[in-house]
Symmetry: C2
Subunit: 419 residues, 2 copies
Amino acid sequence: MTDIQNYMSRVGKQARLASRAMSSAQSSAKNAALEAIATALEANEPALLAANAKDMQAGRDSGLDAALLDRLELSPAGIAAMAEGLRQIIALPDPVGEISDMAYRPSGIQIGKMRVSLGVVGIIYESRPNVTADAAALCLKSGNAAILRGGKEAIHSNRAIAECIHAGLEKAGLPADAVQVIDTTDREAVGLMIAMPEYVDVIIPRGGKGLIERISAGARVPVIKHLDGICHVYIDDEADLEKATQIAFNAKTHRYGVCNAMETLLVAEGIAEQVLPELCAMYVEKGVEIRGCATTQKVVAGVVAATEQDWATEYLAPIISIRVVKDMAEAIEHIGQFSSGHTESIITENYTKSRRFLREVDSSSVMVNASTRFADGFEYGLGAEIGISTDKFHARGPVGLHGLTSQKYIVLGDGQIRQ
Amino acid sequence: MTDIQNYMSRVGKQARLASRAMSSAQSSAKNAALEAIATALEANEPALLAANAKDMQAGRDSGLDAALLDRLELSPAGIAAMAEGLRQIIALPDPVGEISDMAYRPSGIQIGKMRVSLGVVGIIYESRPNVTADAAALCLKSGNAAILRGGKEAIHSNRAIAECIHAGLEKAGLPADAVQVIDTTDREAVGLMIAMPEYVDVIIPRGGKGLIERISAGARVPVIKHLDGICHVYIDDEADLEKATQIAFNAKTHRYGVCNAMETLLVAEGIAEQVLPELCAMYVEKGVEIRGCATTQKVVAGVVAATEQDWATEYLAPIISIRVVKDMAEAIEHIGQFSSGHTESIITENYTKSRRFLREVDSSSVMVNASTRFADGFEYGLGAEIGISTDKFHARGPVGLHGLTSQKYIVLGDGQIRQ
């Protein structure tokens, strides 16, 4: 074995061992560790800033662009926010050991489910160092061991954060190996990490589509993946005009670079002339470029023609594509063809159509009369999220603590045997 | 593309298309199809028996052993049982569209979950032709399309059953492609089927450990797998002697060739002399071979020495291994090392120990004072099962209709936008 193979295999073994202790750790110990980590982050602010300064300098020297440097930077406020995030996770109920659905069977046994941790969670992410603390905290609270692999440009920051995490775990009497940060920038580490089913139970990639596709293609373990967010709002001909305008405007313009922003607006032809002129004027005033179908171009002057490629594009930018459709059936068909399965919303006052849209649209979040921007773990009340799954297997939509757990059956008897 | 590649790709495309219709099919249509399939199976008994006779003849000619021929054989009673199984699935509630956990958030949106089908389920199994009807029915009821690949020795029987299934689907106005039986014995079909993530959402292998390991190693889609069942009963020193004896006897001897049979009995040293002599006499009388640790050999005369290999063996036969342990901690350690994660049971009257065993043992079913033989979908009230998952991801333990579904978030609003 090469050095890097030896290293990853040692990390995997240590994680597996630590996961056993974590799976039955008391809530109080896990919360004490989270508090000790938060305190250590605050107490070590100067060291964290110094480590981050090294990364920033190296980033500038190697010509990283401004957006990447922005994501890489840790400020005193950013460190305080990391600590605050940890304390929010302390406040969440411990998912491990939750018992549900206990019921008696005719045989006299009583059967139900108990929530359990998954084991070892591998998280692969890009430049933001705060993900190191967030991801560690979610894995810790859900009784898992974590192997974290951040971007190479953040290696000094991540090392410094890892020291705080280890100090916190040890202070609470939990194994320091419960959270391991991969301490090499060798790219081979990622390939090895996603192919050790004996040590890693699930991989969560957080980052761009390219990263996620590479990891999904090479993984030998389950991947909770979040690909792109091509979200739609459909304005039905029975929509309330005020709601329609407000939601379509909010879903596009509240933030541009986020996965739950609307990229394509679908409008029923019966209402297009009433809703589009005012709405498009609002977009134009906000500086949003509009690309429309032929009908949209007829209804609103100055709209660029949308190409087939537009319907399949996640802009993440102040650009919107608009298509006028015959009715809801055509809207659902368009969504089925072009959506990435993230989030879609219908604006309608019609009861039957709202029920049908909810049932037939196959996305991780389906909404009626609400902005797609609500699709996130905090807004849904999960308290925190480790990502938004556009898969259907295991976890779908915003993934919080429950998504990092599984369930086992428990059976309580009084001596029952099979007849 | 070769012929077989073309064929599998066509099957995949048809399944994907049919899965769209199935995901929003009404409960009444799905139940009507199940009833029509049951009726068709009964009406076509002579044709089914004739097709099966061909398989049996070919099996005898190629020298299949008696056990395999037994699994392959379809009798009039077997056909009636298939039809009865379909009618039991009609009686189960439709899982698709189930809404749960709807709650209001401070923003005013109301959020919850709706259960949805997975899409296309691929099932790979061995010689039993009745699996064709069972698996088709479970996939159909859960709103999935199914691709079924049975053993090559059952090809004529499976074709005849597939005809009944297609007739039933068409009678109920559902697409016949919702259930496709792979109509070739070419082994390459399996390799292709498990590597088409664009058409197949999950693979469920049903069969021996070899089959399941091969499929897991080659799959490019999630696999719900059931490996072996090395199940344990631990008799604690605070066990009720009568319950302990009855359960340990039942768990081993009720049926030998099943995955939820006990293979290893662990006994606390404080109670070994009270429980083992009588219990071992019962095993011996029943014809069960006993392989024991050194202490077991001291307590009971005539016991063969167990080797390290015994603790890791799923006998599926009238053989039991017995180990005397110091206490529950040592029992849990033994289980952690040798269990296949299927089912374990503790026999104790002690409250604290029962709680600790339930929490710390990491198997798909963990029991107190009940026979491991209860670990099955019917006994648990799932109504039917497509297998027992020893994985932790997505589905664990007996997998019924819910295991063949996922959930999406649904959001009901009144015009809410993100602030």
